[in-house]
Symmetry: C2
């Protein structure tokens, strides 16, 4: 299907589905008027777009945007496979429009419910990406769907020191929505929630700002809320063989749609901000294993120097301590396991128990084998000096299918057609 056929294609695929969407009271024939043709553009708007269709989903190996809204949904118990297929197809159609910076439609009839809630009108695409994945509970708790789970999809085990809140963990379906304008990301999640109404219900959302990783050399490292450069040693999208091995699923007989897909793991990690900020510089640096100002490993002088885990000081002590975060997370400490990190900072008011700002890292990573993350996290959970300042409070793993071809929806992909 060519792009020119998009509107027909959308209505042909029946966006006006059962109970949920009928609540919108309108035939969802998305108009594709450019969203930024509506006046009210904000300053410093980012008109860049990230292609929605392709071999892989966007939002994984693509340039990391500045803002995150992560949202998980649970499927209603009574929903049928047709209900879910229709919702998912409506989501991918809407995501394709929104990621191009287009409106779902301007109102034409005063007595209709607006198809597009409008809070992103006047704002360009802002590099919006919408990345979907399915949790183990979708398969386990909804046998009426007739779906079998990807073989590697399992909820994460409990790690030493975890204090997990199940209500902000996992979920039947989740989306990682990223953009360079948080209101554009908000609108995308709001839109998915509206399109899914009656079939899926929001389980939790998580906002993030201040990307802590980059995936290509064009983006400099950013500092996380600990004040340290983060993601320096991340996988780089030009390292194709590494991505093929560590990120992209090759073939999965149990779930064919996982080809060129990946697993997303999210962990909400609260930071004890004042304990950390009031730790002496040397202690902070030994905890991380890097210099704070330059980001260089303690064994080196430049940010991109490879950490020398064997380096000893004049007294024969390890220069990068045995409990340093970067040592324990390093591939060499975990049988070669590598993951693609893509996390964000978060801040959300006061922590009533400590009187401090409630904040931390919403850690997100992608891996072709959740076992890789588990291996690294088991090591970190037991030994990482950073555990003195952090607390993991959520745990999510979802199976992210491969990318979509034009004319094909997420529902078609999941259920086959």
């Amino acid at each position: 299907m060519s792009e020119g056929e998009k509107s027909d294609g959308i209505s042909r695929r029946g966006l006006l589905v059962g109970g949920g969407l009928a609540g919108l009271g309108v035939a969802v024939g998305f108009a594709s008027a450019p969203r930024d043709s509506a006046p009210g553009a904000v300053t410093a708007a980012d008109t860049s777009t990230v292609p929605f269709y392709g071999l892989h989903q966007a939002g994984i190996a693509t340039t990391v945007q500045d803002f995150l809204t992560f949202a998980a949904f649970d499927l209603n118990e009574t929903a049928s496979s047709t209900d879910l297929r229709d919702v998912l197809n409506s989501w991918s159609s809407a995501a394709a429009l929104m990621t191009r910076g287009e409106s779902l439609g301007f109102p034409t009839n005063n007595y209709d419910i607006p198809v597009d809630s409008g809070e992103a009108w006047g704002r360009p695409a802002s590099a919006l990406t919408v990345t979907i994945g399915y949790g183990a509970s979708l398969y386990r708790d909804h046998p009426q769907l007739g779906l079998s789970a990807p073989a590697l999809l399992k909820d994460l085990p409990a790690f030493t020191g975890d204090d997990i809140d199940a209500t902000i963990s996992n979920g039947d379906i989740a989306v990682q929505v990223c953009a360079n304008d948080p209101q554009v990301a908000f609108h995308a999640v709001h839109t998915l929630a509206r399109l899914g109404s009656g079939i899926v219900a929001l389980r939790y959302t998580q906002l993030g700002f201040g990307r802590t990783s980059s995936v290509n050399a064009q983006q400099e490292s950013a500092r996380n809320l600990l004040g340290f450069k983060d993601g320096t040693n991340n996988l780089r999208s030009n390292a194709e063989s590494e991505f093929k091995h560590h990120v992209w699923v090759g073939r999965d007989a149990s779930a064919p749609y996982m080809v060129a897909g990946t697993y997303l793991i999210a962990r909400k990690i609260r930071t004890r901000l004042e304990s950390w900020s009031n730790a002496p510089l040397s202690l902070q640096e030994e905890t991380i294993g890097r210099f704070k100002v330059t980001g260089a490993p303690l064994s080196g002088t430049n940010e991109n120097d490879t950490p020398d885990l064997g380096a000893l000081d004049g007294s024969g002590n390890q220069i990068i301590p045995s409990s340093a975060h970067i040592r324990l997370a390093a591939p060499g400490s975990n049988g070669g396991a590598k993951i693609l990190r893509r996390g964000y900072g978060f801040s959300e008011g006061l922590d009533a128990t400590t009187g401090e700002i409630s904040c931390g890292l919403y850690f997100i990573c992608f891996t072709s084998k959740p076992e890789s993350f588990i291996k690294i996290q088991e090591n970190l959970a037991l030994n990482d000096a950073l555990n003195n300042y952090t607390q993991h409070v959520s745990s999510t793993v979802i199976a992210c299918p491969g990318g979509l071809s034009r004319g094909f929806g997420w529902g078609d992909q999941l259920f086959g057609r």
Copy 2:
């Protein structure tokens, strides 16, 4: 004092104050190395700066930035006027540096606690502003300070329909921190909290994104989370006589520092997002009194058309309904009362009681007479059709002093010197 003397000035004013700052374990001789000389600059960084010193505080009539962190602090019961003076002076010195995009200092001794927590290193000024104000409780509950309250400073009355949470309302001291990078705003609040540690404690913080107002013609109107253009009829900073009358305090014998100051009122207003988004277009437009796509008043055709509150349709009915938000908020409906609006959208996870995204408007306005806001809000609370979709959950009023001259700190200003 010239800018070149700033570092001396800071140490001379004794930033190393009693219990709280001693906890930092360092002499706070702020270095003024440019913060963006540290590597790690993020993309699309905003290098613009807003002058900290001047007749008025920044962050009121200055261009509205994209992000807010509002933070309120309470003074410890045992704190003396000297304690508070020192904290406030350290805050204004730090704010002056941070708003220039400078670091509070890079670490020089490994065993010292870093003066600057570092999460804004590599990020430019991003138009940061830090605007301070004092709540009625500062004067009422801390007689040891020997301060008398500005005559017009009183906690707001209860309005019809209010459901106020006192823990996120008012506060002895509050700061409105705005920037075009939320991590820069985060860092500023974090820094103030550290500098005040032991003397003041955080009471609450509120994040906002998506400015809903502009204060000058260079900024187009933005849409709020209702999908409507907001702030169209706001006061404009080039309307000097209006600012003089409606925003800036002229003279206050009870508190001389209020000259050229103002009162900040903040109201956290939750939105029932799905009820709103699923209301027909005509109902949304009659509720606001404007067309959704264009932002024009229902009596006009262009966004900036003056609403004609007397306009009737062919049947003799008011075109802008009697319960329309813009009618009830209009100066003509409130004895000429005008306020300067400067609010932000907020979104903060799931509302467990509704299953919807918990979001809305963090309304902020500035007024020379809180009575103006009270008059407008009494009218809105009783009659505004928008009340069907909103709930006010916090209420804050603070007295914001006039701007500072170089070499003069907020403590000096409040206590005199």
